[in-house]
């Protein structure tokens, strides 16, 4: 009895263990501070995009919510961080960052009830609609937001009163990278918790999830709110590291790019957004130097190719491989029963 309990506990917890590859990933990420000091500006943008993509992965990869409206949270928190800095309501950047995230989370909580119902397409339209409305509000109230000219006169105070933002972006990069790491660790904790397990259940089969006692609606509300918080942190980081905020933080492009990033990197394993952001930013940077005017053509081409060769099915490939290995095992060890792929129906609500 005991040994089995230990095995069960060890197995369940084992999923959450940091793999050597992950540790290497983060060591390299922090090493870039010293390795590429001249690239800190683009690296800052990459870290922010990575955090933003992580926020989408939490709802898309773990709860199956397709969204074209993450820019709403990004933009709201971006303006929030800009305004509190401009008018000196909150001087300390880290405090302002967290408050901006909370503001975005509040918007996420309210709008989450709109995405509970309906199919992927409904959710796509609802999330898009919310961010469009917010974008138009920011345009209308240009006396507050600065409208098309952007929010002028934002000064960001030193972090903890000590670390001043410099024009080379060194402080900004280290700050963004640390924030990204902290958010990542929290997200990682969430997806390996019982709450995260219940989300995977909801995504896999929401009918069954409710039949084992999962309050499906509230779990979706919760993860949508958390996702909005992370998206907000990303938006506020952009404002703080550039001391500027303009209407494009709320644009449709920003949400659409984010889906692109996740498709590049893959969903449902947390690193997809990070890897996708690196690929996207550096591809964009590289192509833009080759052909400054038409770089989006090449991004488009890469996207088409990736979708055609089925990047998102890499997980499926692993499954096929594992099935094959299991069958091989069954053949080698005759006492185990043959493992045929049995039908396993799953429904979307």
């Amino acid at each position: 009895m005991r040994p089995l309990a230990d095995e069960v506990s060890a197995y369940l917890k084992g999923r959450a263990r940091w793999s050597p590859l992950e540790i290497a990933f983060w060591i390299f990420a922090f090493a870039t501070i010293w390795l590429f000091p001249a690239k800190h500006l683009i690296l800052t943008e990459t870290a922010i995009l990575a955090l933003f993509a992580l926020s989408l992965d939490l709802i898309l990869g773990y709860a199956g919510i397709l969204s074209l409206g993450q820019a709403a949270f990004f933009g709201l928190a971006g303006y929030f961080a800009g305004l509190v800095a401009k008018y000196g309501f909150v001087e300390e950047p880290v405090v302002a960052l967290v408050l901006a995230g909370v503001a975005a989370a509040a918007l996420g909580f309210i709008t989450s009830f709109l995405v509970l119902r309906g199919s992927d397409l409904t959710r796509l339209m609802v999330t898009l609609g919310v961010s469009l409305m917010l974008g138009e509000l920011a345009n209308r109230y240009s006396n507050i937001t600065g409208g098309a000219d952007g929010l002028q006169g934002v000064t960001i105070e030193p972090i903890f009163g000590r670390f001043r933002f410099d024009m080379y972006g060194h402080t900004g990069y280290i700050y963004s990278l640390i924030v990204l790491f902290v958010c990542f660790v929290i997200a990682r904790r969430i997806v390996y918790s019982p709450f995260g397990l219940s989300l995977r259940g909801v995504k896999g089969n929401s009918l069954r999830a409710s039949a084992v006692g999962v309050p499906v609606k509230w779990r979706l509300v919760a993860i949508y709110t958390v996702s909005a918080f992370f998206a907000g942190i990303a938006g506020a980081l952009l404002t703080q590291t550039t001391a500027f905020c303009s209407l494009d933080v709320l644009s449709l492009d920003r949400s659409a790019d984010l889906l692109l990033v996740l498709i590049l990197g893959g969903t449902g394993y947390l690193y997809g957004g990070l890897i996708g952001a690196v690929i996207y930013k550096f591809l964009q940077d590289w192509i833009a130097t080759l052909t400054p005017q038409y770089w989006q053509f090449w991004i488009g081409l890469v996207l088409v190719v990736i979708v055609l060769i089925g990047r998102d099915r890499i997980g499926g490939g692993n499954v096929a491989l594992r099935t094959y290995i299991a069958r091989l095992g069954a053949r080698l060890m005759p006492r185990r029963t043959d493992r045929r792929e049995a039908p396993c129906r799953f429904s979307k609500q």
């Binding site: 069960v8 917890k13 918790s193 019982p194 397990l197 896999g204 009918l207 006692g213 309050p215």
Partner: protein, 249 residues
């Protein structure tokens, strides 16, 4: 006092009546079977009982409490769990994760986001109990989608059982299970603890008559006959409507 009771339950889909004036009484600890020809509305009744569907009219009482308006997950918390006629599992999760999910929810830690799965010993203890009871230890780390069908059927019941129900609704548990794996499954159903009330929906008459101590017959969405197995077996109307039809098919 009956543990589960429906009073005048009715469900209409537009003009179609799927269930009509269903008043079902299930005693505590009973082995109750609900039978009826195809399309009689058995699964509709289960869906009404578990809250997947909301009735057009009528009341559902669980342990003396009106649960008609409650959501499915709230009914689970009050002690009613179900299995599905067609497997409703999580294809990408392992059996261990299935059971872990159900146990965590029941013990109220399903929403914990700061704790790692498997770190609470009360949860792992119960998982082990269920894995052993349903003999799933040999496949507990496998991806569910690749399990043999019989094991998936067992897991269906194990997941429902992990909710520690007072009332367990089994929707055709043996459907489609190959002969070789059938014995295991039936033995598991027979070995369910006596204090758990079981409502069984089944086509297999051998299973129904060997298992049930009370049988209700549903025809065209309404209750037709309700009684002890011998009475139901003797009833000429049942023979005509149900058993006769089965023989023709």
């Amino acid at each position: 006092m009956p543990i589960l009771e429906t009073i005048g339950l009715e469900k209409r889909f537009g003009g179609i009546v799927a269930a009509q004036n269903v008043s079902l009484t299930i005693e505590k600890g009973a082995r109750h079977a609900l039978i009826g020809p195809n399309g009689a509305g058995k699964t509709t009744v289960i869906n009404l009982l578990t809250g997947v569907l909301k009735p057009t009219a009528g009341t559902i009482m669980l342990d003396g409490r009106d649960i008609t308006a409650l959501d499915p997950h709230q009914r689970v918390r009050l002690g009613m769990a179900r299995t599905f006629q067609i497997n409703q599992l999580f294809p990408d999760l392992t059996p261990l994760e299935h059971i872990g999910l159900a146990v965590s929810e029941r013990l109220g830690s399903g929403g914990d986001w700061w704790r790692l799965v498997g770190s609470k010993s009360a949860v792992t203890g119960e998982i082990v109990e269920i894995v052993e009871r349903f003999r799933l230890a040999d496949v507990m780390h496998e991806r569910t989608a690749i399990l043999p069908y019989g094991k998936q059927r067992l897991l269906e019941i194990a997941v429902a059982f992990a909710c520690r129900p007072h009332v367990l609704l089994l929707d055709e548990p043996a459907a489609g299970v190959p002969e070789a794996e059938r014995h295991d499954l039936l033995a598991t159903i027979a070995a369910l603890p006596a204090e758990v009330t079981v409502l069984l929906i089944e086509h297999d008459m051998d299973l129904v008559f060997s298992f049930a101590d009370r049988i209700s017959v549903l025809v065209n969405g309404s209750l037709f006959v309700d009684g002890a197995p011998e009475e139901v077996a003797r009833d000429p109307r049942v023979k005509a409507v149900y058993l006769g039809e089965e023989a023709d098919a």
